[in-house]
Amino acid sequence: MGQRFLGELELFVLGAVQALGDNAYGASIRREIAKRTTRDVAIGSVYATLGNLHDKGFVVFDVSDPTPVQGGRSRRMVRLTSAGRIALTDSLRAVQRLARGLALGAER
């Protein structure tokens, strides 16, 4: 496939997964994106994007042990693969190169 470009949402999700480290799962990824980008993404979109990333081999799923509290449940955790890490880096670099020299106005 050669170069693998990421869509915006894919970039956000991969970034959030990277940032969350061992604690990345659907709801935490959504919150992380909201915190970092101020975008309120629908949970369904996060899942759909995770599914696509999984198909591309950028993330893998892991079902965790139940959380150690009463009634705690197991979670489907998300981990970046090395391909995912490379794709994320490539895309972030591209964004940086694009942003260089652009007048970006004050952040709202």
């Binding site: 799962y25 659907g26 709801a27 959504r30 919150r31 629908a42 949970i43 369904g44 979109s45 899942y47 759909a48 994007t49 599914g51 696509n52 198909d55 449940r73 979670r75 489907r76």
Partner: protein, 883 residues
């Protein structure tokens, strides 16, 4: 936290579950719930719920899109088509392993889909597709209508000219008529069908010449040259498609006409849809054709854009009303209305085709249910296999697709064969159809029928595989892996079995009942007495020779004498029109004793007969006398006969014999007798009113000079045909003999619509009945198979074999009763809509309802009996050891 936890809304959860990819559902709902809980801790519960709902709604589209992607590329990354190919290969292997089932399934679908496709082709061509010319949906036919509501398909020429001149709703109005002519070609004379039309008719129907040209202004001029345009079919038939015919002359009715063109291959002409030739219509102002009250013309009109048929009808009725006031002498009691041209062409064939479609659809439904049940049986038998597949990680979707692939494979095979069969079935259907099916030339199994068949294949395969799919994916690995064959049946497959059983009983009962109605109607029509003696009568039409010295009178006299000398012939007579023949005439007369103050002009059919006609045909004179040879004199005192119907209509409560009427521009015509009614045109309708004149006394310039000849003989009239032909040729070899048929044939043709319906529905309902029989047998047999173990236990516990048999039978018959009740309800509900096709039988005939119920119920009982008997013979030892 004192606050009770906020529960996620059930509906929202259900939505998420339905749209999300199955693998994600659990985690998704968990995440939704987690965040809801967090929000509920810091917000009002209403705000949390609002959040939940907005999240749900915003998630629908991305989740669905994702689900679609997973469908196309399975999560292992394999391509869907690889899986599909694998499924299909597996389906082929599986089908090959059970050849009998496979053949039954395919044969069922071939018949079902083939019949559906061919019936759809006919319905599409006749009923659905618009007529093949521009603005055809705005085109209507004008009808004359009598005060008593009787339609007269023709109208008077001057009335039409008035409509053309004054109507606000009509854009263009064409006038025409259908006539028969004789063509002399290559030394032989033949009868041909001609349509004479005016220039607007050409434009309304958008007629164009494929070769040569259409008529121009000169063609329609009163003293213009004699010109003719050939139809494509006639040109191919008669002239072998010779292009050089254009510009040459042919002889029509003794007159030379120049062929100026040939119509396009598939034009639409009216009132004769496929005439041999068309000619310009020329009406001399002084002729009878131009008289008010003489109704002969067929009119087609195009409505102005945006106006409906009703608008045109109102407009035309108003004009007719004005004409009634303006010309009471000729127009009193005569109205006008319009019908969409397509309805006029198609006639009451619509209800027939509707019935046929419903019947074929029922057969396809019963067939699909049978196939569905067979597939379900297969799926049930493989419950363990499916359970294993799901248990070791196979996706339920994959299993469902497998089942669908099997159904589709069978349906595709059945469909392909059915489609191959469709043209043949269509041709058979058309050849069975009595007379000419309207628009028959437009019928072909085309792309739309193909699409229809594909839709049928898809629908039937999905319908057939639905229950099996549910069965397959309801696999509960724990249960089904533990379950052993014969330990019991799933409630789902049992429910579906009962549904199929009941539905088949209901559908076949309805069909048997409808077929019964139609067969009974046919039997009743065969019993109708037509009012004359139809057996041993040979009838044909002979036109007198043109352009020769002999008068028609002299010609027919010579012909009569010559025919009477044929051995076995006991009587010969001639007439313009005979019952169940063509050559109709209609006109009006005035009762002279009532004068102008009397009732409106009486409209009646008119026949001109030679003396001895009523004796030859076997009709009774019920009052007065018949015509004598002395009456048949154009210079003698004018006389007439009327039939009973006309007597009651025009002379209610009076003795018509001796009364005088003015008719045919001749006053003081004395009615000398009343003749018994003869059925005409239709066996089931009442006899039309008839006025008979001695043939020599009926002079009409627009009337045809050719007559029917009827011969009664002491031997089979069919054997007379060849001799009659020889005699006609010997008398004058230029005279073509047409419409040669025995009277029995004519009556049979009149009942043909009944025979066609009875035959077709009889056949289809027998098919449905047989399929239902097979279906019921299959269901009960299968139930017994699955209950073998249970039956074994019961027997071991002391139940008698008879008891087992009764139990199985009773269970089947309970279901059959439900089917019968539904079938009876449907029958009673649809029966009234069949009324127009019935004769001599009530639509809700009780004896037929009972007979149909018995036929279906007995079949169900018989089909259930065999497996029930087998159940009673189960050996408990073997049954319990069978695991």
């Amino acid at each position: 936290m004192s606050q009770p936890p906020v529960r996620p809304p059930r509906l929202a959860e259900w939505i998420i579950r339905s749209v999300a990819p199955p693998n994600d559902v659990r985690w998704l709902l968990q995440d939704f719930a987690e965040e809801l809980g967090e929000r509920a801790a810091s917000q009002s519960s209403a705000a949390s719920l609002r959040w939940y709902w907005s999240q749900t709604i915003r998630s629908i589209v991305p989740l669905l899109r994702r689900r679609l992607t997973t469908l196309i590329t399975s999560h292992r990354g394999e391509h869907m088509w690889n899986d599909l190919a694998q499924d299909l290969r597996f389906a082929v292997r599986l089908s090959a392993r059970t050849p009998l089932t496979t053949v039954v399934v395919i044969a069922t679908l071939v018949l079902g889909l083939g019949a559906t496709t061919s019936v759809f082709s006919v319905v599409d061509a006749v009923l659905i597709r618009p007529l093949p010319f521009a603005a055809s949906t705005r085109t209507v036919q004008l009808f004359g209508v009598l005060r008593d509501g009787t339609d007269i398909s023709s109208t008077a020429y001057p009335d039409l000219l008035d409509v053309r001149a004054t109507s606000h709703a009509i854009e263009r109005l064409g006038i025409g008529q259908q006539v028969q002519m004789s063509l002399e070609h290559g030394g032989e004379a033949s009868r041909i069908e001609a349509v004479q039309i005016d220039s607007d008719f050409v434009r309304v129907l958008d007629l164009r010449a494929g070769i040569g040209r259409m008529f121009d202004a000169e063609s329609f001029a009163m003293s213009g040259p004699e010109q003719v345009v050939l139809s494509h079919g006639f040109w191919m038939r008669e002239f072998g498609g010779d292009r050089s015919i254009v510009g040459k002359t042919i002889t029509l009715d003794g007159q030379a006409s120049t062929v100026i063109g040939v119509l396009e291959e598939r034009p639409f002409v009216y009132p004769q849809v496929s005439p041999d030739i068309i000619q310009p219509l020329r009406i001399r102002p002084a002729s009878l054709f131009a008289r008010r009250g003489v109704m002969w013309a067929t009119a087609v009109a195009r409505a102005r854009p945006g106006l409906s048929t009703e608008d045109v009808s109102r407009d035309v009725a108003a004009i007719a009303h004005r004409l009634e006031i303006e010309y009471p002498q000729s127009n009193k009691g005569i109205g006008m209305h319009v019908k969409p041209l397509r309805d006029a062409v198609v006639g009451d064939i619509g209800s027939m085709l509707g019935l046929l479609t419903a019947a074929v659809a029922s057969v396809l439904l019963i067939a699909s249910l049978n196939v569905g049940n067979l597939l379900l049986a297969r799926a049930t038998a493989r419950a363990r296999e499916f359970a294993v597949r799901v248990a070791i990680g196979g996706s339920p979707w994959r299993v469902r697709r497998q089942v669908l692939a099997e159904a589709f494979l069978l349906a595709a095979l059945g469909g392909a064969l059915g489609l191959a069969l469709a043209p043949l079935l269509t041709r058979t259907l058309l050849s069975l159809y009595p007379g000419e099916l309207p628009r028959a030339a437009e019928i072909h199994v085309g792309i739309r029928a193909l699409l229809g068949a594909l839709a049928g294949i898809l629908a039937s395969s999905i319908l057939a595989s639905l229950p099996a799919m549910r069965q397959a994916t309801s696999a509960r690995p724990g249960l089904d892996l533990r379950a052993t064959a014969g330990a019991g049946e799933s409630s789902q497959s049992r429910r579906f079995g009962r549904f199929v059983f009941g539905a088949q009983i209901a559908a076949s009962l309805t069909m048997v009942f409808v077929a019964g109605l139609l067969v009974r109607s046919l039997k009743e029509t065969n019993r109708i007495r037509p009012g004359f003696e139809p057996s041993r009568l040979l009838t044909f039409m002979a036109a007198p020779p043109r352009g020769r010295e002999t008068s028609p009178q002299a010609y027919y006299q010579r012909l009569d004498d010559a025919l009477a000398r044929i051995p076995g012939v006991t009587a010969v007579a001639t007439a313009w029109h005979i019952p169940f023949g063509s050559n109709w005439h209609g006109d009006v007369f005035i009762r002279e004793d009532k004068g102008d103050r009397g009732p409106a002009n009486t409209q009646t059919n008119v026949d001109a007969i030679a003396p001895g006609f009523e004796r030859t045909i076997g009709a009774r004179i019920i009052a007065g006398r018949a015509f004598t040879a002395a009456d048949n004199d154009s210079l003698g005192p004018p006389v007439a006969l009327i039939n009973e119907t006309l007597a009651t209509k025009a002379f209610p409560g009076e003795d018509p014999v001796g009364k005088e009427i003015a008719f045919n521009a001749v006053p003081h015509r004395r009615i000398v007798g009343v003749i018994a009614d003869m059925k005409d045109g239709s066996l089931v309708d009442p006899a039309p009113s008839m006025l008979y004149l001695p043939v020599e006394q009926y002079k009409q310039e627009y009337a045809r000079r050719d007559r029917y000849v009827i011969m009664r003989s002491s031997r089979d009239p069919a054997t007379l045909m060849a001799e009659a032909r020889l005699v006609v040729r010997a008398v004058d070899e230029s005279v073509p003999l047409t419409d040669v048929r025995t009277m029995d044939d004519r009556l049979a043709a009149a009942a043909a619509a009944f025979r066609f319906r009875a035959l077709l529905l009889g056949g289809l309902s027998t098919l449905a009945w047989l399929l239902a029989l097979v279906g019921v047998y299959g269901i009960v047999a299968e139930t017994v198979n699955r209950q073998t173990r249970e039956i074994g236990i019961r027997l071991a516990l002391g139940m008698t074999p008879g008891g087992v048999q009764r139990t199985v039978l009773a269970a089947s018959l309970r279901t059959a009763v439900i089917g019968v009740v539904v079938g009876l309800a449907v029958s009673v509900a649809i029966a009234p809509s069949l009324r127009s096709m019935l004769y001599g039988v009530a639509a809700r005939d009780m004896s037929l309802l009972i007979a149909a119920t018995l036929a279906v119920f007995a079949a169900a009982a018989a089909a259930a009996f065999i497996p029930a008997r087998r159940a009673s013979r189960v050996d408990p030892i073997i049954a319990l050891r069978s695991d």
